[in-house]
């Protein structure tokens, strides 16, 4: 039966959790319990853990975890291959948020493969292309400065709360055409959804988000505006109007994808810069190199992972993977692959340009990448113009919490 995007049904999936559920084709010597995202060693400093993976683990291993067992890829080359070959590595059931099987929807566009995928991307591309996001530059710059105005004279700030979080969330709300006064609520929802690791809390949060977004979809259907939600709900796929299921799957996916990643990235970068004033000075002294500076910081502080489901049996680097196996590309580890980035932990703003995996690659490469790069660039430029020297408040112990997006949760800064 042909797949109907307007009325999807849940895929049949095999979830394997824990040591009891390691399939027979997995060689014993490739089984590990790495503790990625939850182990004490990981949480002590993820950005020491990621580069060390190349010494401590085989390049591909089978990671047994309480959240679901999966093959783990840490080589840049292997991740490029997996992310670019949807015929072997599918995005089906790779987005781990609870959905009601009785009222199932697809996350769009990530769960559609070419050629259908392009029909959905064409709806949003005019809003998020490199050129289109430049239209947002002045607004983002003003916003960054307004946020800084609120705390600069105090000589200190709670970075995540007062800058790292509101900057990308407010930009996102503006882009989507949603009211700015939802900022705090969106923050709360994204924390509950992405960092609770409790399926009940996640499901309850999904229900709240669903209700709100369905209301917004109805509102934009009645009163079109220039925002992305309105653009989506009035779109056509081929020659038919986009369906209710598609509208919702698209809007909620943007919500999930758009809220937490730039936030975590900014927290990581400011945590690093607070300890490395020489790097702040280098950025200030070499303004023409800002794009390379941003790219290098995105390389060393990539914040997330990319999951796939094996669609047909395949051998990769001598490892047999079977249909139904889960695969996770550890993007932050791939970006420290010494075969591609010599002396990988060194932050070098003059590295030869290479493909970095912060935003993955392949047709499902992050559609917000250009906006994310612009936000990081503007945040660096405007902050360093006004606060060129800063450090962590004395006594600060940087802590990381469990979750699929990696960044410090507390970062009080002083200057």
């Amino acid at each position: 039966m042909k797949f109907d995007p307007t009325n999807p049904t849940p895929p049949k999936v095999t979830r394997r959790i824990g040591m009891d559920q390691v399939p027979d084709h997995v060689p014993h010597d490739l089984i590990r319990q790495s503790g990625i995202i939850y182990g004490p060693e990981f949480l002590a400093d993820p950005y020491k853990f990621f580069p060390a993976m190349h010494d401590r683990f085989p390049p591909i291993f089978y990671d047994v975890t309480p959240f679901g067992n999966a093959w783990v890829l840490t080589k840049h080359e292997d991740a490029l291959f997996a992310l670019r070959h949807a015929e072997y590595f599918s995005t089906e059931d790779a987005t781990p948020f609870p959905r009601n099987p009785e009222d199932y929807f697809n996350f769009i566009p990530i769960e559609f493969d070419p050629p259908d995928h392009r029909k959905y991307r064409n709806i949003v591309d005019p809003y998020i292309s490199p050129k289109a996001v430049l239209g947002w530059e002045d607004r983002i710059r003003n916003l960054a400065n307004e946020l800084i105005d609120d705390f600069i004279d105090q000589g200190e700030c709670d970075f995540p709360e007062q800058f790292g979080r509101p900057l990308p969330v407010l930009v996102f709300l503006d882009l989507m055409g949603l009211p700015r006064d939802m900022c705090d609520t969106f923050v709360e929802w994204s924390v509950d959804l992405l960092h609770s690791n409790d399926r009940e809390v996640m499901a309850a949060t999904m229900a709240k988000i669903t209700e709100y977004l369905q209301g917004q979809i109805a509102e934009k259907e009645a009163n079109p505006d220039d925002g992305l939600v309105s653009k989506i709900v009035h779109a056509k796929i081929d020659d038919r109007p986009i369906s209710a299921k598609e509208k919702f799957g698209f809007v909620i996916f943007l919500f999930i994808a758009g809220l937490d990643t730039v936030f975590a990235t900014l927290n990581n970068i400011w945590n690093y810069l607070a300890e490395n004033p020489d790097k702040c000075q280098e950025i200030i002294d070499d303004p023409d190199n800002i794009n390379a500076q941003v790219e290098e910081l995105l390389r060393v502080f990539s914040v997330t992972f990319s999951g796939r489901t094996v669609k047909q049996d395949i051998e990769l680097r001598g490892v047999q993977m079977k249909k139904g196996d889960k695969v996770t590309s550890i993007l932050p580890a791939c970006n420290y692959d010494p075969d591609v980035f010599p002396d990988p932990t060194k932050v070098d703003f003059h590295r030869p340009k290479k493909i970095i995996l912060a935003f993955t690659v392949g047709v499902h490469s992050c559609m917000g990448a250009h906006l994310a790069r612009l936000e990081v660039k503007i945040a660096l430029q405007e902050w360093l113009k006004r606060i060129p020297r800063f450090k962590a408040k004395p006594g600060t112990q940087v802590e990381y919490k469990m979750g699929g997006v990696i960044g410090p949760h507390e970062l009080p800064l002083v200057w």
């Binding site: 490029l80 670019r84 030869p352 340009k353 490469s365 559609m367 990448a369």
Partner: protein
């Protein structure tokens, strides 16, 4: 609107009228031209929209416009040639009406 002709690696041609200001990459995606992947969407970050500008257009469009483009051209899957470009970096103007680009066998 400038017309661009895309020639596949097996020699088939497909032409498309593309808005001024859009890129040769964008025109390929909007018109279903196979052979341009453009996975990063024009961010000079993936090298999967590689094309060879036809020799007749080499003077107008055959030279990379930035160091980033030159760097990324070192990462293409197919061999580069003297008129290799990333098609996301060729912005269309009336002067490029009639442009012909050849597509490589593979983008990755």
């Amino acid at each position: 609107m400038p017309k661009v002709t895309y020639v596949s690696h097996t020699g088939e041609s497909q032409s498309a009228d593309i808005e001024n200001g859009d890129s040769v990459m964008r025109g390929a995606l909007d018109n279903g031209v196979e052979g341009i992947v453009a996975e990063c969407g024009g961010g000079l970050a993936c090298a999967t929209c590689h094309c060879y500008v036809d020799d007749a257009w080499a003077d107008q469009a055959g030279t990379p416009t930035s160091q980033d483009e030159r760097d990324m051209l070192e990462m293409t899957a197919s061999d580069t040639r003297p008129t290799s470009r990333l098609s996301c970096q060729i912005e269309l103007t009336d002067d490029l009406d009639g442009l012909v680009v050849h597509l490589p066998e593979a983008q990755y």
